[in-house]
């Protein structure tokens, strides 16, 4: 490629934009290794003089970060497994099984996409309280057991499965359950990975509902705990950056590893999960 002025300009702008985009994450990581107070100086230090793990030690030993990490992992994993199962079953049925009212029910579900989840939060809290699930894993999980977006995503993909294949299995005497587990699931694999990672990240990052429903500290997920800590420890920037790293690192690493699937999901849906 020639080094015309246009080439230089485009690449220079891209490089500048990339540096600006990465900088907050880089600084978060860098400051998280600085000893307490080192980042409250001017000019702001870019790299730690003497890198230390003391902030991480304090978070895990003094602030129960391990517990929050565990809670986040449990909630995100359970939400992913359960919603993936429910959404896949429903999405496949809407695409490939014939039953009365199928299209009308599906249309109604799609219509519900315009209703923001925030509308439900307050009655949902009253309901969860009625069920005795306040501050439990089950309580955090209830709104993510099944999603319209997930059903939609699976259905779109399942529509392309060849009917002849399913018919052949039926003629061979396979039950619907067997066809689903042994024929359909393997064929849906790429979209299942996509939906799994979208769900895991969305649940991990979710904030408002966990904030409402988790009232006791030992049940906090990482975002809820971090929000609370950052209000208490406003001045301790180094420790807060370490907390941000612990919260962001798992999802960022997961994304970098599986980004092909993640981006496929966004393009297929064009809707946030």
């Amino acid at each position: 490629m020639k080094r015309t002025p246009a080439v230089v300009a485009v690449n220079a702008i891209l490089l500048f934009a990339a540096v600006v985009t990465v900088f907050p994450l880089f600084w978060m990581l860098s400051v998280s290794f600085m000893p307490s107070g080192a980042a409250s100086t001017y000019p702001p230090p870019l790299l730690p003089d003497a890198p230390t793990l003391e902030n991480y030690r304090e978070l895990f030993a003094g602030q129960a970060a391990g517990r929050y990490l565990f809670n986040s992992a449990v909630v995100a994993t359970l939400a992913t497994i359960i919603s993936l199962t429910f959404n896949t079953m429903a999405g496949y049925a809407f695409a490939k099984l014939r039953f009365r009212g199928r299209d009308r029910i599906f249309q109604a579900l799609l219509g519900a996409l315009v209703i923001p989840a925030q509308v439900t939060l307050i009655p949902l809290f009253a309901l969860v309280k009625e069920l005795g699930l306040v501050s439990t894993y089950a309580g955090v999980l209830v709104p993510s057991l099944a999603t319209v977006f997930g059903i939609f995503l699976i259905r779109q993909y399942a529509l392309s499965l060849p009917d002849e294949l399913l018919e052949a299995a039926r003629i061979d005497g396979a039950s619907e359950r067997r066809i689903f587990w042994w024929l359909v699931i393997p064929l849906l694999r790429p979209i299942l990975v996509t939906l799994a990672i979208l769900t895991f990240l969305a649940t991990w990052n979710d904030f408002m509902w966990p904030l409402i429903v988790l009232t006791s500290q030992e049940m906090y997920t990482l975002p809820v705990a971090l929000a609370g800590l950052s209000r208490e420890h406003v001045q301790e920037n180094e420790m807060m950056m370490a907390g941000a790293v612990i919260t962001v690192a798992p999802v960022l690493i997961l994304f970098l590893g599986l980004q092909r699937y993640y981006i496929a999901g966004i393009l297929a849906g064009g809707v946030k999960g």
Binding site: L25, T41, A244
Partner: protein
């Protein structure tokens, strides 16, 4: 087992979960908004009274609600065009044949999207720190006086907009990038032969080619931005002087600080109606543009 029965068994778990934990609460939100549901009603339903539209009536007379509404609109009107503009520029640059390492740049620009909002809000609060923050340091290098981002009512919301734009532009960029790649190469080829300038090509081929996707992206972005909550919760607690109090933050405080759950439900419903109207308006404008 008949096919019909099997089908119902397949959709039953999802429909049950959605019905119980989504559709029931949606209906519940409307019903609750017509009551004086509070802490006493939460423990014993006998304390619940039907109050008709009183919650809506008092809300519309509450200056704080209007303040929250105004702030939210300010955030949407400032943030959405900035986000979409930046997404478009990023998509065009990454799509440019002159660019190198396109996949790498795409990944970098998208990375903020997957980060946890609460965590990056904590990071940006520090970047915005009036004395030790990096932003004021960088601005000082080009001769700008330090700004008290989180402490000045005029700057707190723009600061939140900066965070939101940084966090979200990669999302729309990906969608626009895919749309750009769907515009047939022959159109550009023809424009080049006709001697069209870069701007003319952009105006008459790229923009119409993106048309419906641009509309979709605008609606999604605005709907998302109306739901502003975590940023002010973490960075400013709605302050200073309530300059970053959003409608959802107002709802959260009404509901879970003051336990006026009936009133909070009315807030949620008003926000929903508002978002719905804005979406319809955009669709109408979009259709008219498409016809013109």
């Amino acid at each position: 087992m008949s096919l019909e029965r099997a089908a119902w068994l397949f959709i039953a778990p999802a429909l049950l979960a959605l019905g119980l934990f989504f559709f029931l609460p949606v209906a519940g939100a409307f019903i609750m908004s017509l009551t004086d549901f509070d802490l006493y009603a939460l423990s014993d339903r006998a304390n619940l009274r039907f109050v008709g539209l009183r919650n809506y009536y008092t809300l519309l007379q509450d200056p704080l609600f209007w303040k929250a509404l105004g702030n939210t609109f300010y955030f949407v009107v400032l943030g959405a065009p900035l986000s979409i503009g930046l997404s478009l520029v990023a998509a065009l640059l990454v799509n440019s044949k002159l660019a190198r390492f396109r996949a790498l740049f795409r990944t970098i620009f998208f990375a903020p999207v997957v980060t946890t909002l609460v965590a990056v809000a904590v990071v940006w609060r520090y970047i915005f720190h009036a004395r030790y923050g990096f932003l004021n340091f960088a601005l000082a290098q080009i001769g700008v006086e330090p700004i008290d981002w989180m402490g000045d009512p005029r700057w707190a919301m723009p600061a939140i907009v900066i965070l939101a734009v940084w966090k979200n532009f990669g999302y729309n960029m990906i969608i626009l990038l895919a749309a750009l790649q769907n515009i047939p190469e022959e159109l550009y080829e023809a424009a080049r032969i006709d001697g069209a300038s870069a701007w003319q090509t952009f105006r008459h081929i790229t923009v119409p080619g993106l048309g419906p996707v641009l509309l979709l992206v605008s609606i999604l972005t605005m709907v998302g931005y109306f739901q502003l909550f975590a940023e002010p919760y973490v960075m400013t607690e709605g302050g200073p002087l309530q300059s970053t109090l959003s409608v959802l933050y107002f709802m959260y405080e009404e509901g879970f600080k003051w336990w006026s759950l009936g009133r909070a439900s009315a807030v949620a419903f008003l926000l929903f109606i508002l978002m719905f109207i804005v979406t319809l308006l955009q669709l109408r404008i979009g259709r008219r543009e498409a016809r013109a």
